[in-house]
């Protein structure tokens, strides 16, 4: 059975090496600072945690912030953990790319860029992947095509308390 | 040769041969030129067969149409960035004059000479006769031709071999 490392454990390990890197620690994840990301990831990969395998990389639009979620596995120790980074920048969120640490992040970062509009600095080939070049907007963002009838999320369901979106279209982005 | 079939065949094949040879000179596209060259070779092979030289005719198809035309195609496709056009140099006019003169001279000589024509029929079986002649009367030229082939093959390999990448040539 894979041991699911709590975010606090991972945060503890990271703090021993990089004291200021961790922002927050929850049972599911540890939130780290974006500018320390490469260091932290290299440490996670080569350190005692041995997270050599990057399961999944994805972005979440929290409306007030963009989060990138990393799920990692150690094959030799059979354990798993998750870290996150976050930014409140909306127009052009920029994060460091982890392709130098895990080459497997290549396509997943391109996917996140394509659908969520997140720029990964240091990515060797950051282009649209599913959509065509010149596609307007970032479709997985919650405010994509912010117009009536195309309201994202729960407002589609009658009687459901959805989160109110502010009038922010990103079609021109 | 007064056999109607042979006469018709001769004129048809002669027209094909000379016409395609002319087209080799006339067309602009080198690939088209090669196709006409093959057609010309096939015409010559047909002429051989009207001369009852069926072995040589078949060898003509095999070597010229099958092998040499392919070598020419290889020469074209192995030189990709070079021009694929079939243009003439500035020596065009002298060449026309010279080849016209040669044709006139040869034609005049062939008509004017009094050949000692024999009236024997065509060859019955040429392949075995050629084989016997090659290995009996012409054994020395035969061996020399074999050596020539070998030398040509080795020479071709050595010419195109790249000295700089001896190791890379292995793979």
């Amino acid at each position: 059975m894979t041991r699911l490392l709590a975010g606090q454990d991972i945060a503890h390990q990271i703090e021993q090496k990089y004291p200021e890197a961790v922002v927050d620690a929850q049972p599911e994840f540890a939130m780290v600072k974006a500018d320390k990301l490469i260091d932290v990831c290299t440490f996670l990969r080569d350190g005692d945690l041995d997270f050599k395998f990057l399961n999944s990389l994805t972005a979440v639009d929290r409306l007030d912030a963009f989060e990138i979620v990393y799920h990692m596995t150690s094959i030799s120790l059979n354990q798993m953990g998750s870290i996150k980074i976050s930014t409140s920048e909306r127009e052009k969120p920029v994060f460091p790319s982890v392709t130098s640490v895990w080459p497997g992040a290549h396509l997943q970062e391109r996917e996140a860029y394509d659908l969520m509009g997140i720029v990964f600095e240091g990515h060797p080939d950051l282009r649209r992947i599913f959509l065509w070049e010149g596609f307007a907007g970032w479709p997985l963002r919650k405010d994509y095509l912010n117009m009536p009838g195309h309201m994202a999320g729960l407002e589609r369901f009658p009687g459901e308390p959805g989160k109110k979106l502010e009038g922010r279209g990103n079609v021109d982005a | 040769m007064e056999d109607t079939g042979t006469v018709v065949a001769f004129w048809a094949l002669a027209i094909i041969t000379i016409g395609s040879a002319f087209m080799v000179a006339a067309v602009r596209n080198l690939i088209h030129a090669v196709v006409f060259l093959v057609l010309s070779f096939l015409g010559v092979a047909g002429l051989y067969i009207t001369l009852s030289a069926d072995f040589v005719g078949v060898v003509q198809i095999l070597i010229y149409s099958g092998a040499i035309a392919i070598l020419v195609i290889f020469a074209i496709v192995l030189t990709p960035q070079a021009g694929r056009d079939n243009a003439e140099t500035s020596m065009r006019l002298p060449a026309v004059v010279l080849s016209g003169l040669v044709a006139t001279m040869l034609g005049y000589a062939s008509i004017d000479t009094n050949w000692s024509i024999s009236d024997r029929p065509g060859f019955e079986e040429t392949a075995s006769a050629i084989g016997v002649a090659l290995l009996d009367k012409y054994i020395l030229p035969f061996e020399i031709a074999a050596a020539l082939m070998l030398v040509a093959m080795l020479g071709a390999i050595i010419i195109v071999r790249d000295e700089g990448t001896e190791g890379a040539a292995e793979d």
């Binding site: - | 007064e2 006469v7 001769f10 041969t17 000379i18 040879a21 002319f22 000179a25 080198l30 090669v34 060259l37 010309s40 070779f41 010559v44 002429l47 051989y48 009207t50 001369l51 072995f55 040589v56 060898v59 040499i68 020419v72 290889f74 192995l78 030189t79 070079a82 021009g83 079939n86 243009a87 140099t89 060449a95 026309v96 010279l98 080849s99 040669v102 044709a103 040869l106 062939s110 050949w115 024509i117 024999s118 065509g122 060859f123 040429t126 006769a129 050629i130 002649a133 090659l134 009367k137 012409y138 030229p141 031709a145 020539l148 040509a152 093959m153 020479g155 071709a156 010419i159 195109v160």
Partner: protein, 104 residues
């Protein structure tokens, strides 16, 4: 109407002239090569014609000679191909006018 030696010789002569023109006038190396092949063919045709028509003790000799010529032509074509490739590699062209290293 009949077909005689002179007819074949005329075809050979015209073929030879066209080949000569190609060899002299063509700019492309491959064009020159094709001209030479046509000249070989013209010579072969006359040889076979002589072998068929002319009085001789062993008429098959013409055919034997043609076999030798074909051999030489094959060897020549192989070497010419090699030269074309080398020329292209060294000079980046197969224009025979540009292959003038030995001009002076």
């Amino acid at each position: 109407m009949s077909v005689d030696l002179e007819h074949y010789l005329m075809v050979g002569a015209i073929l030879f002239a066209i080949g000569l023109y190609l060899a002299l006038a063509k700019r492309n190396f491959v064009g020159v090569l094709m001209g030479i092949e046509l000249m070989f063919n013209a010579a072969n045709l006359t040889l076979i014609a002589f072998s068929r028509f002319v009085e001789s003790e062993s008429p098959i000799d013409g055919h034997v000679f043609v076999v030798f010529v074909v051999t030489v032509a094959a060897a020549e074509a192989a070497v010419a191909l090699a030269i074309a490739v080398l020329l292209y590699r060294v000079r980046d062209t197969v224009d025979v006018d540009k292959a003038n290293l030995l001009k002076w």
